[in-house]
C-alpha cells in the first residue's frame, strides 16, 4: 500500500519542521517518564544512607567507559547530521553506523556489568536499590536499542538520499538518551 503524506505534514505555521516539533514533544514526554523514575529513586536514596554501600558494588570504570562511549556516539550522530545537511550522503551514512556501533559497545559493556553483578548475587530482587538499578538502566537500555534500530532504518534512506531531516530528528532523540545516562551515571555509580 503506497502512502502519500498529507498536505498537513508539509505545513509549518510555527516555523519549525513538523518532524522536529514532534520529536521535541517526544522528548518532553520522555523527560517525565525517566524523570518520574529518577525522582522515585532519589527519594528512596535520600531516605536510605545505607544504599551508598550498595552503590559501591557497581563498577565505576565500566560506567565511565559507557558514559564516554555515549558522549562519543552523540558526537558522531551530530556529525552525521552535519554531513547530511551538507549533502555528503556517504559520510553521513558512515557516521550513523558509527553511532549504531557506539550503541552496540554500550550494550556490550552493560551486559558485562549485569552478568558480573548477577553472578555476585546482586539480582533484581536483592533489595530495592538493585531493583531501581536494573529498572532504570534496563529502561535506558531499551531506549538505546530502539534508537539503534531506528537509526539502521534511517541509514537506508540516507543512502538513497531520502528523508534526510530524519537524521537530525533521531539525533535529538539520541542526545536525550545520552543526557539520561549522564544523570544515571552519578546516581548509580559515583554517589556512594
Amino acid at each position: 500500500m503506497s502512502f502519500q503524506a498529507p498536505l498537513a505534514t508539509s505545513r509549518s505555521v510555527t516555523g519549525l519542521p513538523t518532524g522536529r516539533l514532534a520529536i521535541w514533544w517526544v522528548v518532553v514526554s520522555e523527560i517525565v517518564i525517566f524523570g518520574g523514575l529518577i525522582a522515585c529513586y532519589v527519594m528512596f536514596r535520600l531516605r536510605h544512607p545505607e544504599w551508598g554501600e550498595y552503590a559501591s558494588h557497581t563498577s565505576t570504570p565500566a560506567g565511565a567507559l559507557n558514559t564516554f562511549v555515549l558522549l562519543t556516539s552523540s558526537l558522531s550522530i551530530v556529525l552525521a547530521h552535519q554531513a547530511a545537511a551538507a549533502g555528503n550522503l556517504v559520510k553521513s551514512f558512515r557516521y550513523i553506523w558509527c553511532t549504531i556501533g557506539g550503541g552496540g559497545i554500550f550494550l556490550l559493556v552493560k551486559s558485562y556489568e549485569w552478568t558480573t553483578e548477577i553472578s555476585h548475587g546482586y539480582t533484581l530482587f536483592a533489595n530495592n536499590f538493585w531493583s531501581f538499578y536494573y529498572t532504570a538502566t534496563g529502561l535506558h537500555g531499551l531506549h538505546v536499542i530502539a534508537g539503534m534500530v531506528i537509526m539502521a532504518i534511517i541509514s537506508i534512506g540516507v543512502r538513497k538520499g531520502e528523508h534526510l531531516p530524519r537524521v537530525e530528528y533521531i539525533g535529538i532523540y539520541w542526545h536525550f538518551v545520552d543526557i539520561v545516562w549522564l544523570f544515571l551515571f552519578p546516581l548509580f555509580y559515583i554517589a556512594k
Binding site: L7, T9, R11, I31, C40, H48
Partner: protein, 569 residues
C-alpha cells in the same frame, strides 16, 4: 499528492489517482483521520456498553444481595470486586478517553483548523491499533484463571501488587499492561494532536481564531503528556512487583505503598481535567451555535483553561487525606483544591453569559449541553466538601465520594459524548438524527441519571462505605430505609440503560435513512461546516483560508446571523 503540496494547496488532483479502496484499506487499516475517529468512537461505544452492563450487574447485587442477576447469574465476592474495578477502569480509560480525546480530536482537529489530515497519519493509525490491543487484553483478562483484576481502578498496593491478596495472578498484570498500552496509545495520539494544531493550521488562522474545542483537546493532550510519565515508570515498577517479585511498594521489604498513591494521583487528578476539557469545549461550540450569539469572553475562557490545567497539577493529594500523608501537605492541598474551583466556575459563568440575550434553539444537542452545565455544577459543588481535608475525613471512601465523581464524570463522558454526537452527526455521516427520539432519549437519560446518584449522596452521608459486596453483613447499613434507596438507585440505573435503546435505534436508522444534511445544517461558523458532509478523503475541495474569529454570530448589520470563518466579507 506531492506535486499538489508544492504548488497550490488543493487536494482535487489527488482523488483521481486513487481507485476505490477495498474494505480493508478503507475501514480497518485506513490512515484517514475521520475513519480513525470512527474506529475510536465505535470501540468506545462498545466498551461503554460493556461498562454499563457491569454497572447493571453490581447494582442488582447491591439492591438484591445474593439473588441471581438476570443475564449474569449469582455474583460472587471476587466477581463483584472485578466488576467494580473494571467498570471504573473501562469508563475512564476505554470510554471517556477514546471518545472525548481520541475520537473528537481526530475528527475535529483537522476539519476545524482547515487541513486535510493529521500531520502523522500512520502514527495515528498505530495509536488506534495499540489502543485496540489494550482493549482486547483488558477483555481477555476476564477469562483467565482467577478472573479479572479486582483491586479497584486505583490499584493501590499491596492489594494490587501481590497475588496472595488480590487472588488474580493473571488478571492483575494483564489489567496493568492494558492500562499501560492505553497510555502509550494516547501519548502517540497526543503528540499528533499537538503538532497538528501547532503546525498545520489553515492560512490566516491565528491563535485566537482556533475554536475553543480544539484548544481544549490540545491543552488536555499536553496535560496528559506531562502527568502520565511518572505513572508509566510507576506502572513498570508495579508490574515488576506483580510478576517478578520486586518490592518497590512492599512495606515489609523497605518499599513504600504511598509512593504508588502519589504516582497514581499525580496522573489521576490531571486526568479528570484531561477528559473534562474536551467536554467543556464541545459544550462551548454547541451553546454558541444554538444561542446564535458570540461566545462570551473567548480569551477569558482560554486563560481559565490554562489556569485550570496548571492548577490541576497542584491538587492530587486530596485523594489521600487519610492515607497517612504529611498533615502539612494536607493543608496545602486543601487550599489548592478549593482554588481550582475558581477558574472552572469562571468558565461556567462565561457559558451562562453566552446564553444571556441569545435566541436559543432547544435542539437535542443544546439540551444535552445545558444539562451538562447543570449536572456538572452539582458535581463541582459537592467536590468542595471532599477537597477540604476536615470534611473529607468523614466522607472519604463513602458513597458520597462515589456520587460526587459520577456527577462529574457522567456529564463529562456521557452527556459530553451525546452533545457531540447529536451536534456533529450530520457532519460525520451526512444525515440528520431524529429530534423527537433524541428528546425522548435526553429526558429519559437525565431524569434516570439523577435518580441513580441523588440517593447515593444520602446513603454516603449516612455512612455507607464504598466497595462493599453485601451490606447485610453490616447491621448499621442494612436498614430497610437504606435498602429502599439502594433499590431505587438500581431501578433508575436499569431504566437509564433501557433509555439508551432509543438512542441506538435512532443512531442506526439515521445512519442509513436519516434526512440528508447539507454542508451546514446548523448554520455554524467553524471550518468543518465548509467541507461536504460527510467530508471526503482530503476534507476540502480547496483548502480554506481564515478571515475571522470562529464565533461571529448575529453580527449587527449583516443579513445572515452567522459569518463563517472562511468567508472573505
Amino acid at each position: 499528492m506531492a506535486e499538489a503540496v508544492t504548488t497550490a494547496e488543493t487536494t482535487e488532483g489527488a482523488h483521481s489517482h486513487h481507485g476505490e479502496p477495498d474494505f480493508w484499506s478503507k475501514y480497518i487499516f485506513s490512515t484517514d483521520h475521520k475513519m480513525i475517529a470512527m474506529q475510536y468512537m465505535f470501540t468506545g461505544m462498545i466498551m461503554a456498553l460493556i461498562g454499563g452492563y457491569m454497572a447493571y450487574v453490581f447494582r442488582m447485587q447491591l439492591a438484591f444481595p445474593g439473588e441471581s442477576v438476570p443475564g449474569y447469574g449469582t455474583v460472587t465476592p471476587l466477581a463483584y470486586n472485578s466488576l467494580i474495578t473494571n467498570h471504573g477502569a473501562i469508563m475512564i480509560f476505554w470510554v471517556a478517553m477514546p471518545i472525548l480525546i481520541a475520537a473528537l480530536g481526530n475528527f475535529l482537529i483537522p476539519l476545524m483548523i482547515g487541513c486535510d489530515d493529521m500531520v502523522f497519519p500512520r502514527v495515528n493509525r498505530l495509536s488506534y491499533q495499540i489502543f485496540l490491543l489494550s482493549a482486547i487484553i483488558l477483555i481477555a483478562s476476564f477469562f483467565v484463571p482467577g478472573g479479572g483484576f479486582g483491586g479497584a481502578w486505583t490499584a493501590y498496593p499491596p492489594l494490587s501488587a501481590q497475588s496472595q491478596y488480590n487472588l488474580t495472578p493473571f488478571g492483575a498484570p494483564m489489567w496493568l499492561l492494558a492500562v499501560a498500552l492505553e497510555f502509550v496509545a494516547f501519548l502517540l495520539g497526543g503528540i499528533n494532536f499537538i503538532t497538528t494544531t501547532m503546525n498545520a493550521r489553515a492560512k490566516g488562522m491565528k491563535m485566537y481564531d482556533i475554536p475553543i474545542v480544539v484548544w481544549m483537546i490540545v491543552i488536555a493532550s499536553i496535560l496528559f503528556m506531562a502527568s502520565v510519565g511518572p505513572l508509566i515508570a510507576g506502572a513498570v515498577m508495579l508490574l515488576f512487583d506483580q510478576v517478578l517479585g520486586t518490592t518497590f511498594y512492599n512495606p515489609d521489604a523497605g518499599g513504600d505503598p504511598v509512593l504508588w498513591q502519589h504516582l497514581f494521583w499525580f496522573f489521576g487528578h490531571p486526568e479528570v481535567y484531561v477528559v473534562l476539557l474536551p467536554a467543556m469545549g464541545v459544550v462551548a461550540e454547541v451553546i454558541t451555535v444554538f444561542a446564535r450569539k458570540k461566545l462570551f469572553a473567548y480569551k477569558t475562557i482560554l486563560y481559565t483553561t490554562f489556569a485550570t490545567g496548571i492548577l490541576s497539577f497542584f491538587v492530587w493529594a486530596h485523594h489521600q487525606f487519610i492515607a497517612g500523608i504529611d498533615p502539612r501537605m494536607a493543608h496545602i492541598f486543601t487550599v489548592t483544591t478549593v482554588l481550582i474551583s475558581i477558574p472552572i466556575a469562571e468558565m461556567l459563568f462565561c457559558y451562562i453569559a453566552t446564553l444571556y440575550g441569545g435566541s436559543i434553539r432547544l435542539t437535542t444537542a443544546m439540551l444535552f449541553a445545558l444539562s451538562f452545565l447543570a449536572e456538572f455544577l452539582i458535581g463541582g459543588v459537592t467536590g468542595i466538601y471532599l477537597g477540604a481535608s476536615g470534611t473529607d475525613i468523614y466522607f472519604h471512601d463513602t458513597y458520597f465520594v462515589l456520587a460526587h465523581f459520577h456527577y462529574t464524570f457522567f456529564p463529562i463522558a456521557i452527556i459530553g459524548f451525546f452533545t457531540a454526537i447529536y451536534y456533529w452527526f450530520p457532519k460525520m455521516f451526512g444525515r440528520m438524527m431524529n429530534e423527537t427520539w433524541g428528546k425522548i432519549h435526553f429526558w429519559g437519560t437525565i431524569i434516570c441519571f439523577n435518580g441513580i446518584f441523588l440517593p447515593l449522596f444520602v446513603l454516603g452521608m449516612g455512612g455507607q462505605h464504598r466497595r462493599i459486596y453485601n451490606f447485610n453483613n453490616f447491621p448499621d447499613l442494612a436498614t430497610p430505609e437504606m435498602q429502599d434507596l439502594r433499590i431505587f438507585a438500581t431501578w433508575s440505573a436499569v431504566a437509564m440503560l433501557v433509555f439508551q435503546i432509543p438512542f441506538l435505534i435512532n443512531f442506526t436508522v439515521s445512519l442509513f435513512k436519516g434526512k440528508k444534511a447539507g454542508k451546514n445544517p446548523w448554520n455554524a461558523n467553524t471550518l468543518e461546516w465548509v467541507a461536504p458532509s460527510p467530508p471526503p478523503h482530503g476534507n476540502f475541495a480547496e483548502m480554506p483560508v481564515v478571515y475571522r474569529a470562529p464565533y461571529e454570530y448575529s453580527v449587527p448589520g449583516r443579513e445572515k446571523d452567522y459569518w463563517p470563518q472562511n468567508m472573505p466579507d
